[in-house]
């Protein structure tokens, strides 16, 4: 930017400067108040619980008896140490695998001429929509050492090889394949928005396509890779369903299964669970801090005010190899577990004596679906879930945009505090956060408790970090010069946001709202404490089927849930495509 244009910018923005001087502190203040209510207040309740023996609602703050007992008990318990190291191993291994898969996939889809890319892109997101509990159940059906379908098939073919998913390796593999879409989402949009001239420059200078990939492309999308891997690691840390289904039979505990035990035992030990949750938060805080250190002072702006189309590498005949690779991956992550779920959903009982028994059609039917839809709660929960999902996506999306813009695009004082506040919830495990929201919000005046709105509020609060992070990468890539150009043309801040930033960030906004919608639909931990008979949601009902020991109904209901999500995903995909075309026009 030249000195002349800076002067012009100063001149152009002068009329708007006065209200903005007043507006900025008001704006930051409003955001801080909203975040304090959504994040800080429940967190304080949690801290209060961890540091005392009392329930803040029952005993009140007046009877606060501070004690470090829970922390000391937790820190000194060797089972917690073991659970901690298991969690780090499972989530660390899972993240490495997720990054490898997610990155490879986004490169194949965005940057190569591999056939049927759109199909591959859509299908590769499916694991994201599968609730962790269902994923765990599906892989226990497939990979159990005793009754697993894979082993039954190996035996039938005559192969001596046997798999055992009730193990650390099983956990890592399932974590890796199910959380790869997180990395994919971040990296594919970054790759899409990247100016290909940088890669072209590298190749003109004599670097091979492979060297360019590792020395130019991947380093340029480093914020997206880091954000994606950090998010997937932290999300894995908070997952209960997968380690519950695959770790428990092998006596492998992780922190979430330990927390679940604490809340499920009779009597439940919520205060101790809160202490474990606070420890988990400290670990996450360190990771977030580390990520910011790594990215500090580096510019990753690659979307500039110049029109371009994402470059597509011609792989020649090798494109069928990448296609085959994608197909093989999809077979493992989508076809196999879905097949397991379909078998479980349509088969009356899951006792499969040998491979031939799988093809005994008398054992199949619609029993479980009939029973699921005979339950009046099923339709109610679907309706409530969709309602709460839409409310959450809209409110959360708007809030995340406001936060993301303030943090990434402005220099207003207080934006660091907003960034910090909006990052905190990522670290609170879902099983404990539910009780924190209950403690925090039950006393609110008015009729909020017991309505669908309190669920939406909890989901917005819980997933603010995921949504903001998903949006931030889009913001980081939009070069400041585009906004500056708008200001030079005499547009105000609001007008610049609506006419320049929003259209450019639209793929990111739609993606983050979709993510929020999906996360809200799957969320169990906070639902369990805030739902009532009228506001029951699908996740609560799914847990009920699972806890009821009926794998058939669990599978049938999760297929219903997946089908609903697939339809909605198709819809948002269509919206996002419109958005991408729109932003291409703007660019």
């Amino acid at each position: 930017m030249t000195a002349t244009s800076t002067a012009a910018l100063a001149e152009a923005t002068q009329p708007a400067a006065v209200p903005r001087r007043l507006g900025a502190p008001l704006w930051v203040g409003a955001l801080v108040i909203v975040l304090a209510f959504l994040v800080l207040y429940p967190l304080l309740m949690l801290l209060f619980g961890a540091l005392s023996d009392s329930n803040p609602v029952i005993d009140g703050f007046g009877k606060f008896r501070p004690s470090l007992d829970h922390f000391l008990k937790v820190l000194g318990n060797e089972n917690v140490h073991l659970a901690f190291f298991n969690a780090i191993a499972a989530c660390g291994g899972g993240t490495i695998l997720a990054v490898a898969i997610g990155l490879a996939f986004s490169w194949i889809v965005v940057r190569t001429n591999t056939p049927f890319k759109r199909f591959i892109a859509g299908a590769s997101m499916i694991p994201l929509f599968v609730p962790p509990l269902v994923a765990g159940v599906a892989w226990s059906i497939l990979g159990s050492p005793k009754t697993g379908l894979l082993n039954t098939a190996f035996k039938w073919i005559g192969i001596d090889f046997r798999v055992d998913f009730y193990s650390m390796a099983g956990l890592i593999l399932v974590f890796g394949i199910y959380y790869a879409p997180y990395v994919y989402m971040f990296t594919s949009s970054a790759l899409q928005n990247m100016d290909p001239s940088l890669e072209e420059a590298s190749e003109v200078s004599g670097a091979s396509a492979f060297t360019t990939l590792f020395t130019v492309t991947f380093p340029l999308i480093a914020p997206a890779i880091l954000a994606g891997s950090l998010l997937s690691f932290v999300v894995m840390l908070g997952i209960y369903g997968v380690p519950a289904a695959l770790g428990a039979p092998a006596n492998i505990n992780v922190l979430t299964t330990y927390i679940f035990k604490l809340t499920a035992w009779s009597p439940p030990l919520y205060n101790t669970a809160a202490a474990v949750a606070i420890l988990l938060m400290i670990v996450t805080a360190i990771l977030v801090w580390a990520q910011q250190r790594v990215l500090m002072g580096k510019s990753f702006a690659t979307v500039a005010g110049k029109a371009f189309r994402p470059r597509s590498l011609n792989l020649g005949p090798w494109r069928w190899f990448t296609f085959g690779l994608a197909l093989a991956y999809l077979f493992v992550v989508v076809v196999l577990p879905t097949l397991a779920l379909v078998i479980a959903a349509f088969r009356k009982f899951l006792f499969i004596k040998d491979f031939e028994a799988l093809f005994d059609m008398r054992a199949y039917g619609w029993f479980h679906f009939a029973q699921v839809f005979d339950n009046p709660l099923t339709m109610l929960s679907i309706y409530n879930t969709l309602k709460v999902g839409v409310i959450t996506a809209l409110i959360g999306g708007a809030l995340a945009f406001a936060i993301g813009y303030t943090v990434n695009r402005t220099q207003v004082p207080g934006r660091k505090a907003i960034d910090l506040l909006s990052t905190i919830p990522v670290a609170i495990p879902g099983l404990v956060v539910g009780v924190a929201y209950l403690w925090a919000w039950i006393g609110l005046p008015g009729g909020l408790y017991g309505t669908i709105w309190i669920l939406a509020l909890a989901f917005v609060a819980r997933f603010i970090p995921d949504t903001v992070k998903a949006l931030s990468t889009s913001f980081m890539q939009i070069h400041k010069e585009l906004e500056e150009a708008s200001w030079i043309c005499g547009r105000g801040l609001l007008s610049t946001i609506t006419s320049v930033v929003l259209p450019l960030a639209r793929p990111g906004v739609v993606a983050s709202m979709t993510l929020l919608f999906v996360l809200a639909i799957r969320e169990l931990g906070s639902s369990l404490f805030l739902y009532t008979s009228d506001t029951t949601v699908m996740a609560v009902l799914l847990l009920d089927y699972y806890e009821g020991g009926n794998i058939g109904k669990t599978a049938a209901f999760s297929l219903v849930q997946t089908a609903i999500l697939a339809v909605l995903l198709g819809l948002t995909n269509w919206l996002a495509r419109g958005a991408a075309q729109g932003s291409a026009r703007v660019g």
Binding site: A264, L350, F351
Partner: protein
């Protein structure tokens, strides 16, 4: 036969009994019924499985169609936490609470009102821990096995320490999972012998967090034999699963629930009628026939399949010991079975 049709058939049979007018008192006076119908609905908090309780509500509505029941279901510890917090905030929505852990409910006694069902005298005194709580549900432990995998099924509790079942063939629900399992563990040590746990643990037992996933694992063939609450495996057997269950002669540990009506109930008459019906002979018969429950009635209206009242005795834990021994014994159990707490 489909489970739904089995249950519907049984529910229909139970509801179509025509009782003489005097027997209507079994559920309460005419005034109570009229007042309950005027209230029209009640909110029911339960730690039992939602599907099971839905069948109960359906059967109740066959008899009293004008009283709607809205249900909130959550796992045991979580529902207690919710009740406590809601009550403290003055927003307890429950009219009736149904919970398996008598100890936890006893701590909340102050939140509940005095209540006595019309047939109070028919209930076993050892199943009652407070005049406010009544065993609307009573569950009992059986020995279940997969009929495709076990050629020589166990016949007694003692059989579950036999060498032939070594190597993760037996599944067990872990001790600290709740009041129902703690009852079984107490029974094993007090009735089957001090060394029973040790002998059984030597067989390498597959541990499960709760009964429902274990019953599923048994049907799938992940384990071959498991002590289970009869109601968890009963409906699967009725549906035709490759499983069978027996009641062992050393005794059947039973778990009488503690159900009560809250002091803040907004529909106290509807709540009373619902409790009366569940505790009545008709309600208990329905629960035994359709759900696989046991009963805490002194004279059970009927017995589950394979239950010979001359041979099989129920075992109820002494409530003071149930509370006093719990922590120490569970710690020992965890060590013996290698369960990490």
């Amino acid at each position: 036969m489909k489970r739904r049709s089995v249950l519907a058939g049984l529910a229909g049979a139970a509801a179509s009994w025509t009782l003489p007018a005097a027997a209507q008192d079994e559920f309460g006076s005419k005034d109570l019924v009229a007042a309950a119908e005027k209230e029209g609905s009640l909110t029911y908090y339960t730690a039992n499985f939602a599907e099971v309780e839905q069948e109960v509500i359906k059967a109740f509505n066959k008899r009293f169609p004008k009283v709607k029941v809205a249900m909130v279901r959550a796992p045991g510890g979580q529902i207690i936490q919710r009740i406590k917090t809601e009550a403290a905030a003055g927003k307890l929505a429950a009219d009736v609470v149904n919970h398996s852990d008598r100890g936890l409910m006893k701590e909340l006694e102050d939140l509940f009102q005095d209540y006595t069902p019309p047939n109070a005298a028919d209930y076993r005194p050892d199943a009652l821990v407070s005049p406010k709580f009544w065993p609307g549900v009573t569950l009992g432990w059986c020995l279940a096995y997969n009929t495709e995998l076990v050629k020589n099924p166990p016949k007694t509790w003692a059989d579950l320490t036999k060498e032939e079942y070594k190597g993760k063939k037996i599944g067990q629900v872990v001790g600290p999972s709740g009041g129902t399992t703690w009852t079984r563990i107490m029974f094993e040590r007090q009735v089957l012998g001090e060394d029973y746990w040790k002998k059984q643990a030597a067989l390498q037992i597959a541990l499960y967090p709760s009964g429902a996933p274990l019953s599923d694992a048994l049907v799938r063939g992940e384990v071959s034999i498991a002590p289970l609450l009869y109601n968890i495996i009963y409906t699967k057997i009725v549906e035709g699963a490759p499983a069978e269950a027996i009641f062992a002669p050393e005794g059947v540990p039973i778990i009488p629930y503690a159900d009560g009506i809250t002091k803040t109930s907004k529909s106290p008459n509807a709540a009373r009628l619902f409790m009366n019906w569940r505790l009545s002979k008709e309600g208990q018969t329905f629960a035994i026939k359709s759900l696989g429950n046991i009963t805490s009635l002194k004279e059970p209206p009927l017995f589950p399949k394979g239950w010979d009242p001359k041979l099989i005795k129920v075992w109820v834990p002494k409530f003071d010991e149930f509370e006093k021994l719990r922590d120490g014994w569970l710690e020992e159990w965890n060590k013996t079975y290698g369960y990490r707490q």
